[in-house]
Amino acid sequence: MEAFLDFFFGEFLVTGQPLIYGAMVSIALGSITVIAVLTYFKAWGWLWREYITSVDHKKIGIMYIIAAIVMFVRGGIDAMMMRIQTSLPGMTFLDSQHYNEIFTTHGTIMIIFMAMPFLIGLMNFAVPLQIGARDVAFPFFNNLSFWSFAFGLALFNISFIIGGSPDAGWTNYAPMAGAELNPGPAINYYLLGLQLSGIGTLGTGINFIVTILKMRAPGITMMRLPIFTWSTLITALIIVFAFPILTVALALMTLDRIFGAKLFTLAGEGMPMMWANLFWLWGHPEVYIVILPAFGIFSEVISTFARKQLFGYKAMVYAMVIIALLSFLVWVHHFFTMGAGGGVNSFFSITTMLIAVPTGVKIFNWLGTMYRGRITFETPMLWALAFIPNFVIGGVTGVMLAMAAADYQYHNTYFLVAHFHYVLIAGTVFGCFSGLIFWYPKMFGHKLNEKLGKIFFWLFMIGFNVCFLPMYFLGFAGMPRRTYTIEPEWMPLSLTATAGAFMMAAGFAVFVYSIYYSFRYAERETQGDSWGVGRTLDWATATPIPFYNFATLPEFDSKDAYVGMKDKGETTYDKSKVEEIHMPSNSGLPFFMMLALFIASFGLVWEWFWMAIPGLIMFFIVMGIRSFDYNEGFHVSTKEIHEIEQAARGEDSK
């Protein structure tokens, strides 16, 4: 008993940190509140039926986005703590170990559990609508992908109260992350959390490739696809080719840490830098996975609010295809300083600079789209407009980093930190905000308040520049990345950065408030084309979108499908053409499958095989049950379709 208590309080629970006790208390209170609210409103059954087991791509998309926003808050709190610690010399807010854990979880969460799921959520929501499909190609698998992501997220996040967080950076370099230098469960959380959620990402990639290739409505040819759908297709392709590399790398390091292999170790024949090599073989394509969909969103938003067809559609598509190819040819720029030699470094310098070319082409496409457009400045458009100059700053400093010789100076300084936040925030995060606000009325039946949205935009955008612009100069002044104390001479700029971070936090708080405010007071949407200027099929549906999306579809003969429909007076509800619709049934199996893998992974994290093996067996049992599941879905009667459409469109719609 005593031994157990020693283990429980000594190793299992993380103890001795006031901040962590605070976090534990707030997590406990938060969970109690959620459980109480759900029980009070008798909402458990509703949650299970309508969301957890749902195979509806719209609901799955919304669940992804909610998870991503929660993770943005968690990663954001990490960021604020880092900025507080580095605001003044001699701060003792965080000790060095705690600081290491926080930049590691911040980076990992922001990339894997915030940026990617946010974009995947928007893809899930919008892509089937844009191509006139009733769902994705494999709806059951889509739900399974979500739960694999969600349980991976849970596994990664519990590390900070149970067992301790990983602390070797989001890049998790060997030998620092190996068993010799880093014993205990922390790094295992990283390995298995990412492994588990990676299954879902790969699944999403496959699902969207098939959906886009096979499920397009008649007349929507490849060269008429909305550009966001194109960007999703290219992203899915990169996912399918890049994620297996991560899977293998994670598995190899798991072998090292849990089963005593010596692949990345210093001892034996291990090659620690092979980890860096494999990590970035996946890692660079990964950054395109989180930027291309954002490009797609900006293209949609800009052409919508400029009321013009996208300028240079074909160039846009080819640029993305070329970026997808090149993204596999640049990975060494992340470790030029390894010293692979002049030949290797020159090659990767040049390929890296080449990527700037198609990206530049896209910038001119956006500018060309706006040229002579009748632009209005709704909030999604504001984010898209702010993206262009801010992203260019990130891109130009990226080209500076691409020069191998110069990189020996910039490497691992705040210059780099500034660069990647300029591309990740001004690109990915602005894109997520833009897309969320853009499609929000289709998701929830009301817009977000425009005025609060503008306050949010200005606070966040200015705060972002105040926070990250000084970091370029801190880098020049020699401030290394991942350092937990600062020298006095860095104080003025570093303190400025912290002030900027607080502005961003304030902006985000306004956003969260606007969700509540708009839920209470915003006008409800009565028609499908929320902004009045929609161009693609997603805007042709009624609001709220019927669960089967489209009752009927016309033949399409041009790009910007909905523009053509509006001209011809067509809708997605042609009374005379309505037929029964076949839809897939919900299923609780994916939840249990991934719960089983979660248990198995948690067991592996602690090297408890008595737990890991039964978890794995449970997983196979649920898979077995699935293979005897002959549910063929259900049919929606024409009567029901008429009722739903008429309720959504007003009685006398034709």
Binding site: I245, M273, M274, L329, M338, G339, A340
Partner: protein, 117 residues
């Protein structure tokens, strides 16, 4: 799923299955049961592996039977390209001498593992 509607005897599958077993056995024999030099062994099992992959694609994965052959072909070429980049690229990038145990490494131009193993 229902595209396997041909109810005939699955002769293709049977041939594929037997061929795979034979090829796998041959590879094991070359590697374990012969005294050939290392280079020959590697070349031999690589050649068998490529034949094996072809059998999988034609006998089991129906690559000739779909109407989207172009997509399949493009996809496979792309996949081989990426696989090549990963393998050859990694070898090129990582043979910079650091793992030459015993010297201080770090940028010297020697080949990996300096030849003694």
């Amino acid at each position: 799923m229902s595209s396997h509607s041909e109810s005939r005897f699955p002769i293709k599958h049977l041939i594929g299955y037997i061929a795979s077993i034979v090829l796998t056995g041959a590879a094991a024999w070359i590697a374990l049961g012969t005294e050939l030099p290392m280079g020959w062994i590697v070349a031999g099992i690589m050649a068998l592996a490529i034949i094996q992959a072809g059998i999988q694609l034609f006998m089991f994965m129906h690559i000739t039977e779909t109407d989207s052959g172009g997509i399949q072909l493009g996809n496979m070429i792309y996949a081989f390209g990426i696989a090549g980049i990963i393998v050859l690229g990694s070898i090129w990038v990582m043979s910079f001498g650091y793992h030459d145990h015993g010297t201080d490494g770090g940028g010297s131009e020697t080949e990996e593992h300096g030849g003694d193993h």
